[in-house]
Symmetry: D2
Subunit: 338 residues, 4 copies
């Protein structure tokens, strides 16, 4: 059994990691840290884990010995303070924050507004999107787990950009459920504010923009410019990202679908479908893409559960690859449907 720890166990992604890992056959949750809940039983804070996680929150991950693997589920800026010690001790780790996603440290500092203090590990961190970078993840020591928006968008855009059939200029109109904003109450996620409306925010300046550009630039021929408009919709879990492209030349609907089928036909967790549906994937690690050709344009949708394939589920998928396990272990269940 691999002994895993979770730094930042109180938040939504920390709790979701515990929810997924507690039934994983090859893993034992050995530690969960929390600043505000030190000493409390995990199942008293996350009551849904009653009967599944028998632990108390600790203050520091170093309070627990003999860990083999650690998930860092803290805000950005905190993760880079935790990772060096883990690497030094030979503990494999996945960071779910933005700290290790952007290879260009200047871009990081521009978008996150503070210095990066762990350039050494930044360099060796792999970007944890198995459907595109699986080989790099097998056996890796440090993985930067993609953002929830970024995952949905890269899945929707990747095949067309790789195929070189669209202009390197994408408009992304993305819609997210409120759990993507985390557990801390705020005006924008106050129910009376967001419960009967849709709220555009960070228009043209969301931090996932450079992450998406960096990722797609790895397989597109040249630099792709992403115009990214995130919006909050009144659902708890789920993202639908609508990505708009200009076709370089005429393509039929079948040809476009064929590009996606070629990319995802062999995948367990990503499916190219006719009618994309958040409900089909919610509560699971599955994601969907769908595409419609409209004249010389294409709209491609990327759909997932922001807490699973958009965060903790994808992290478990990466962990499986890093540990040499079957990628699907502990994740192989369908979405809820209803």
């Amino acid at each position: 059994m691999t002994r895993v720890g979770i730094i930042g166990g109180t938040g939504y992604t920390g709790g979701e990691l515990a929810r997924l890992l507690c039934t994983h056959p090859d893993v034992e949750i050995a530690a969960m840290t929390s600043r505000q809940n030190v000493g409390a039983r995990v199942q008293d804070v996350h009551t849904y884990l009653r009967g599944y996680v028998d632990l108390e929150f600790t203050e520091k991950i170093s309070d627990t010995k003999d860990l083999d693997f650690v998930f860092v589920a803290t805000p950005h800026g905190v993760a880079m303070k935790e990772v060096p010690a883990l690497m030094d001790q030979g503990i494999k780790a996945i960071d779910l924050s933005g700290d290790y996603r952007l290879k260009d440290v200047d871009v990081y500092q521009e978008w996150y507004g503070h210095e990066h203090t762990d350039l050494e590990n930044l360099e060796k961190a792999e970007y944890g999107l198995p459907e595109f970078f699986r080989d790099k993840l097998k056996g890796a020591d440090l993985v930067a787990n993609p953002g929830c928006y970024a995952t949905s968008i890269i899945l929707a855009c990747g095949p067309l950009l790789k195929a070189g059939v669209v202009d390197e200029e994408i408009i992304v109109d993305a819609k997210s459920g409120t759990s993507g904003a985390g557990m801390v109450p705020a005006v924008r996620t106050h129910h009376s504010t967001c419960g009967e409306t849709i709220i555009p925010y960070s228009v043209g300046k969301h931090r996932h923009t450079p992450e998406i550009e960096m990722a797609v630039d790895r397989f597109a021929g040249s630099h792709t410019q992403v115009t990214f408009i995130p919006q909050l919709i009144p659902i708890v879990r789920g993202i639908l990202s609508s990505c708009y492209f200009n076709l370089k030349k005429d393509l039929t609907q079948e040809e476009v679908d064929g590009i996606y089928e070629k990319q995802y036909g062999g995948e367990t967790f990503v499916h190219h479908v006719q009618d994309p549906s958040i409900r089909a994937v919610v509560a699971s690690n599955h994601a969907q893409t769908a595409s419609k050709v409209i004249g010389k344009k294409v709209v491609s949708f990327g759909v997932l559960d922001n807490l699973v394939k958009g965060a903790s589920g994808q992290a478990v998928q990466c962990m499986n690859l890093m540990l040499g396990l079957d990628e699907k272990t502990g994740l192989n269940v369908p979405g809820l449907g209803v």
Copy 2:
């Protein structure tokens, strides 16, 4: 034109007062105070008031001269610090907080946890439920506006208690939209917490309990005991309170409906209906009651928009009475329906 001021103009009830008063034909909004928005234009904070309220928030109500009427829309404990000065200057006032609702100061101190510092005005404050205490409100100087839950419950319970046909023991299972909790973000009203569930809270110890008991005791023969369970449902506006009674003797459905018709048949804003509906009254000062006889029990529903008939609309209705205006002025529009 009556010059009115609103103390506490940033919150939901303050904003709703402005929404209703800005089209009231006999009133001019002359002042709105705010602690956090002093100097800001009202329509920049409450963007829906653009074109309707041309004011800046001031710090203190005394910054504005020649006011005729003031609404106090602050948290409890604050109102009793504002009201004495208003009364001293001969300015009529309505308090929308709980400070002047409970005649028994010991009960106030028990449920609100602090001392009452304005016993003089507490004594003269009238309880602002026009459908039951209209005569007392005509020309009154100070009115305590009922709570939103309390209004829905008293409307549903009053007729049967007045008629003396039910036991003095009521179970109230009440459901409220999230705007009833106010504008300050909190865990319970965080969308991811409350968006796909129903949350019982303050079970058996909500502050509206003594308010309801006090009000109904005024027209019931003896003391009525209220078991009150409030619950948060994922809608923005609206309350449905389900009140359970034991009949003292057998009554038919027609007899029970007759009791309500007798009470409300002549009312503009309260209707006894077959199928109660929040949507039928939302965004309006209308309320509904409905009753079903089930063997020796009766369930009566009280339905309203918590921000209108449950707060600011009822306050305007009271103001009309206090000023000698037609009670319906500025309020006479139907609910949204859809």
Copy 3:
């Protein structure tokens, strides 16, 4: 008093017309027709109209004599059977369906799938968007009320297209509440289907596409191509349409805002704002636009309540113009805000 009738009084737009007209000072609702509710009291079907509309539904509009004005709130294909008789009798009318919106009858037949049988009146119908075509509406006999999506999109796109500063190629990613789909239960609007998700539908083939193109072509220099993706979000009322443009030349944020201010600065019901909000306009005839320059692109948002400015409120606004009344009569209230 103008005596008005509503053909199709059971549906959402018919009920909403009654809600608005029942407090209109210059109008008397003299007739409402319904196929399924003939003989029923209006206030028993639309319970929110209790105390405001004292009528029974009739079968045919001709059952009522001496009407001055008729709103046709039926499905498309039905309206064109009703309008000729109204015109023959000299009764002014507004059609809220799609029957009189598309001037090109071939385009109508292509998108609606059946023949147009009233070419004579089609020719004389004016398009009822006062903010762009006010002069044509004053005194007009027949007005085609714009679709809800179309209104939001034309308001957001019109100023930039008129100014000639963007390419004639727009991507519109629109989000609508469920009331836009009408009152007939269907799979897509079944709560369990749509309550916790967002559903793209009619991608690239929604009937508002030619309507939008026709309208904007009237003030843009050349033909504008609209790629229109409508989506259903789990709210009852409200539309937010996000419109993406390529700038022909660099413009600052201030220059773009200035174009909108110039267009809407004098309008009562359309405001150019920084943060667009459905809640700010819901339940009112107000609409908002907002724009963000992102590099060489602009995203402009159009926001409204689909049943008011997107349907029945706009129809009342048009009626006021057709009758020579102040355009704001009966509509001059702010949105709910919360």
Copy 4:
């Protein structure tokens, strides 16, 4: 591997059965029938099952040979036409409709409005609530799966009634998500109707009333009268039932909690908690109870996911018992939490 079939595979409970059974280690889904989707691939209808169920819908369960176990997920009245043939062939079965729940055939006919045509199997059917009737379910041939409301209410009421500490008279104010109403679109579950409100329905005459009474009468000393008010709330999955009792004698909070702990302390799927939460159990077979003593009354809450512990999950739990498997097999995952 046990070969199982599902009669009525298109509906919500049929789809949910497939969702749960497709990862059950001891079971193979060998057949799913559907009236409207004969010949269609299951995963094209229930897109969330892609990769998990590789079957086509058949018309009749008899089209598939060698079944060991059948779930009947049809409307009431249909099930009793299917079960006799299954019993004759020695195929164990669980009926998820109401056909085999009420032992008294006169009560059935009164509440369901038609005759019961399978009295023989009605007699031998066991009521499938493992936490109360586990011993009867082990090895049973036919099980009537409880209704979703009934399960939540019996779990909340059972311990106090068994302990004999409350009057045999219960008020139940229950709230359900819309998926409990099934997949067929209807006015009450149309999003615009139910999306921003709470709707009481079948007040005092819902068919679960006799089912609840029958079940609790089995362990309470005498007949218990249930006043049952169901209400629809705008969530997709989940029930919270609030049950009100009169205590026969004074009991402390600790004593009441102790009664529940004694009943459920050893259970995997039912937990007695302080703060009941639909989100803690949603998407899982877990249920919660919680109790508050308020003077001489007690309110007890029962919480579950209506499609899992309220329907298909409980059916799988029963199947495990009927087949001699560990009761938890295929169900042992926590709720979503968020």
